[in-house]
């Protein structure tokens, strides 16, 4: 309901609505980008491109599913493009902690968060397609069926990617999450 109004207002060029949508989904979009790319700087650039692109095309927007899964799918596609593009520097190797401390901004809001950092590091150990499924499901709020359709694979494949992915995360993060 709220989203429907937001989209309607957005289409009329309402900037409040644009900001509200950003606020609502910033965390989800960034979560996807960071955990797929393992790099906060690039992730923020991706977020920038996705959101500016979203604003650009707002007037002709037609979303059939949820706004969240739409934005998350856009983010995921953008990340994929970036991963595939030849000019990218590093693949999915997580930055080591010393580098993070140097690079993180003084506020260091995200990386200073221990859990988020460990999660990004553990995620980086997973094959990209497992990560995609996990993020689409948990951050995009998408059902397995919708993910299967999106990724053009069977629902069983999606479910097993999800299961294996979580299993691996569990073993990597074992103890830390329990703590």
């Amino acid at each position: 309901m709220e989203n429907a109004i937001l989209i309607w207002r957005l289409k009329r060029g309402n900037i409040d609505a644009l900001g509200r949508i950003y606020e609502k989904y910033e965390s989800d979009m960034l979560a996807v980008a960071i955990n797929l790319l393992g790099d906060r700087h690039t992730a923020q650039d991706i977020l920038h491109d996705v959101f500016v692109g979203f604003a650009e095309s707002a007037h002709k927007l037609s979303i059939y599913g949820s706004l969240r899964s739409y934005l998350i799918t856009c983010t995921l596609n953008r990340c994929r493009d970036w991963i595939r593009s030849p000019k990218r520097i590093l693949s999915t190797i997580p930055p080591d902690s010393s580098e993070i401390q140097q690079n993180s901004d003084p506020a260091g809001r995200m990386i200073a968060d221990e859990a988020a950092f460990r999660l990004a590091a553990a995620m980086a150990e997973l094959p990209i397609d497992q990560r995609e499924v996990i993020l689409l499901h948990l951050r995009g709020g998408m059902r397995f069926k919708a993910i299967a359709k999106q990724l053009n694979v069977s629902i069983n494949t999606v479910q097993s990617r999800y299961r294996y992915g979580l299993q691996k995360l569990r073993s990597l993060l074992n103890g830390e999450v329990e703590r």
Binding site: A4, R12, D16, L30, H48, L138, R170, V177
Partner: protein
């Protein structure tokens, strides 16, 4: 609890936020992008000018406008008035229209021909350039006397919506546009070349640009014979003052050479930039003549051996994965194929027999549904479908809810989508391997989220929107948005009336209407026989012509304490809710007013408001100070008071957005108010009338 539950939660709940600087940049750039896309959208002539064809042809617009008058005035009609339907009918019988345009500032001087039956548009410009558009063959031929060759390019719907060359569509789209923009139309009787004519004066003012169009209509043939167009831009510059004359010949140019292009000039083959090339073959591997279609409408022919080249389109740009289809000449064989914009390899398309797909639409109870809209959509890329409006296949709806798509090329995954008010259903068809007909069985229509099957969607909501003076407000969208993702809307006409159809009977729905200067007005209504009559009041309406409630400000950043007393005898422009990074444009306007009228007795006061849904992110005091420094702000800049002490002055539930926000009845930020020399609140001006109001109040 399974550990993975905790991990799932960790992934779900971990909070991420962009760096503050980056966040600002994103919001700034996105806002700009939004503004830009907004500026590009409808502005009278400019809407029409979006299409290169009509850009050449001011004529088309003029003809379109001709029908407007009667469309808007359904009431009493002068005897001499020619009805919209009459003009439409007259235009239907016209095979060709010929226009000669001349005058000052007219973009495309010269002659134009419109072949309504032959679907041809031809133009001969004053500078000698000639173009010939063959709409049916989707070709454009252009001749430039300087380069001395004729260039052939492909016409696609991005250049020009193919059905635009129907006079009726032209009329209707112009009507719709003018009605939405709130044009003023005056009809009178006059003389032209000694003949009595009906003259329609259409005037429109958008963003201070006044545009005037006079149409001369022959009362006997009911056709447009002359049009005058006048407009100036916002600064009063670049005046356009032109006229166009019309006649209706029985025949027009058949080729570009008929427009005076020397016969010896050769047509240069299609643009050499190609998207991709390939060959159409049959199942035996032999080349076969046919066509290749991409983007549902860009068609290229292959040669006898089936080889084809798809050139770069004139203006349509393709990105990433795309779908197209090939067909033989007889349209008995075909196939969908996928291609990428960076496609390097040639594409070989093996044409196979076309198939038919049938099924039946049922509801949850298993009964067949007859009147649903059903579409066959093609997968364009994983997870994405396009439901083309022009299709190579035929769609048939038979009795008992059964449907059949015949002549469908295989080669792509498809989705059948059926819709009916309140209901939706779809079936995905995996990419068919063999060219055999498919029966998908039953397609179940399910109610939209939040509504039961029993809900009937035949109800209608009508009503009226008026302003504070009980005058009708036209051109507003009334939206019902609580129906899942589907938004139903109605637009108010000149009498302020609107009708929204297909609503759930006896259900409570909510919706909203927005009007500039009035903010967002939300409503809830039960859909029964009752009407929805909304009277909108401008922001701060209760305050108008009353003494201002004063200033309740938590902190002044660049001045000492400011009171309205200090401004007595001056006109005050007060802005509430300046959200710094986003409202740059609004703020620039305030600054402009300050520069222009600051020494003539205008005082400017700007307040930042901390809103409960402060979506733009928290604005810190440092941000404000930096902003003041950056823009060298001399007028007082403060922050709206959210303190408890003002609680008693306003309704407690309203307080959360700040004292000023509540006291001045802000309905959309940033809000502006003008307080006159006697300290009375006079108006909450809009961007448009701000300057005029300042001038008026200063003169008092």
């Amino acid at each position: 609890m399974r550990p993975s539950d905790k991990i799932e939660r960790l992934i779900q709940k971990t909070n991420y936020a962009a760096d503050p600087a980056k966040r600002k940049q994103i919001l700034n750039d996105a806002s700009q992008a939004l503004q830009q896309s907004r500026q590009e959208t409808p502005a009278f002539w400019r809407t029409i000018m979006m299409y290169p064809l009509t850009k050449y042809a001011v004529a088309a617009m003029l003809v379109m406008a001709a029908g407007l008058f009667n469309y808007c005035h359904t009431g009493s009609v002068d005897i001499a008035t020619i009805a919209f339907a009459d003009i439409s009918n007259a235009m239907k019988k016209v095979p060709w229209m010929h226009q000669v345009s001349r005058g000052k500032g007219v973009a495309h001087l010269g002659e134009q021909w419109f072949g309504f039956e032959t679907r041809v548009f031809a133009s001969k410009a004053a500078d000698g350039k000639v173009s010939y558009w063959n709409i049916s063959e989707k070709r454009i031929y252009e001749y430039d006397p300087n380069s001395r060759h004729i260039e052939e390019t492909i016409l696609d719907p991005n250049d020009f919506p193919l059905d635009m060359l129907s006079p009726l569509t032209l009329l209707e789209s112009m009507n719709k546009m003018l009605t939405e923009q709130g044009a003023e139309i005056v009809t009178k009787i006059g003389k032209y070349n000694g003949q009595t004519v009906q003259i329609q004066d259409i005037s429109l003012e958008i963003n201070n640009i006044s545009q005037k169009l006079s149409l001369y209509i022959d009362p006997i043939t009911k056709l447009l014979i002359k049009a005058d167009i006048k407009y100036v831009d916002a600064d009063g510059n670049n005046p356009t003052d032109g006229e166009a004359l019309y006649d209706y010949p029985l025949a027009g140019p058949a080729t570009i050479y008929d427009l005076g292009v020397p016969r010896e000039e050769m047509i240069k083959p299609l643009s050499s930039d190609i998207l991709f090339k390939g060959q159409l073959i049959n199942s035996l591997g032999n080349g076969i003549k046919g066509t290749v279609t991409i983007g549902w409408s860009c068609i290229v022919q292959s040669d006898q051996q089936g080889f084809f080249v798809v050139p770069q389109s004139r203006s349509k740009h393709f990105y990433g994965n795309q779908v197209g289809y090939g067909m033989n000449q007889d349209k008995t064989l075909g196939k969908h194929f996928y291609w990428k914009t960076d496609q390097k390899e040639d594409i070989q398309i093996t044409l196979e027999p076309l198939i038919s797909i049938q099924g039946r639409i049922i509801n949850l109870k298993g009964n067949s549904v007859n009147d649903a809209k059903v579409q066959l959509c093609i997968e364009t890329h994983p997870g994405g479908h396009e439901c083309p409006s022009t299709t190579p296949w035929k769609t048939e709806i038979k009795s008992e809810g059964s449907f059949c798509f015949s002549g469908v090329p295989i080669g792509a995954a498809m989705e059948i989508i059926a819709e009916k008010p309140g209901l939706q259903g779809s079936i995905i068809i995996a990419r068919p391997e063999n060219a055999t007909d498919i029966n998908v069985g039953d397609l179940v229509l399910k109610p939209l989220t939040g509504f039961e099957t029993e809900t009937t969607w035949d109800a209608m909501l009508s009503g009226c929107v008026t302003n504070e003076k009980n005058e009708p407000m036209s051109g507003l969208d009334v939206n019902i948005s609580s129906l899942g993702m589907k938004i139903l809307k109605g637009k108010t006409n000149r009498k302020g009336q609107f009708t929204i159809k297909g609503l759930p009977r006896d259900k409570n729905v909510s919706g909203s209407v927005y009007a500039e200067g009035y903010g967002h007005i939300m409503f809830k209504i039960k859909i029964d026989a009752s009407e929805l009559n909304l009277q909108l009041f401008p922001q701060g309406y209760d305050l108008l012509n009353k003494p201002s409630p004063g200033l309740f400000v938590e902190k002044w950043f660049n001045t000492g304490l400011v009171t309205l007393e200090q401004y007595r005898g001056k006109v005050i422009l007060l802005q509430i809710g300046a959200i710094l990074p986003i409202y740059q444009r609004d703020f620039e306007m305030i600054q402009k007013m300050n520069e222009k009228y600051g020494n003539q007795g205008l005082g400017v006061i700007v307040l930042h408001a901390r809103l409960t849904d402060d979506w733009a992110g928290p604005v810190t005091e440092e941000d404000i100070l930096a902003f003041i420094k950056k823009h060298n702000i001399q007028f007082p800049f403060g922050i709206d008071d959210a303190e408890e002490k003002v609680k008693k002055m306003v309704a407690p539930d309203k307080l959360h957005n700040g004292a000023m926000y509540s006291l001045y009845d802000v309905k959309a930020t940033p809000a502006m108010y003008l307080i006159d020399k006697k300290g009375l609140v006079r108006i909450s001006p809009t961007e448009k009338d701000l300057e005029q109001w300042i001038k008026t109040l200063l003169a008092e």
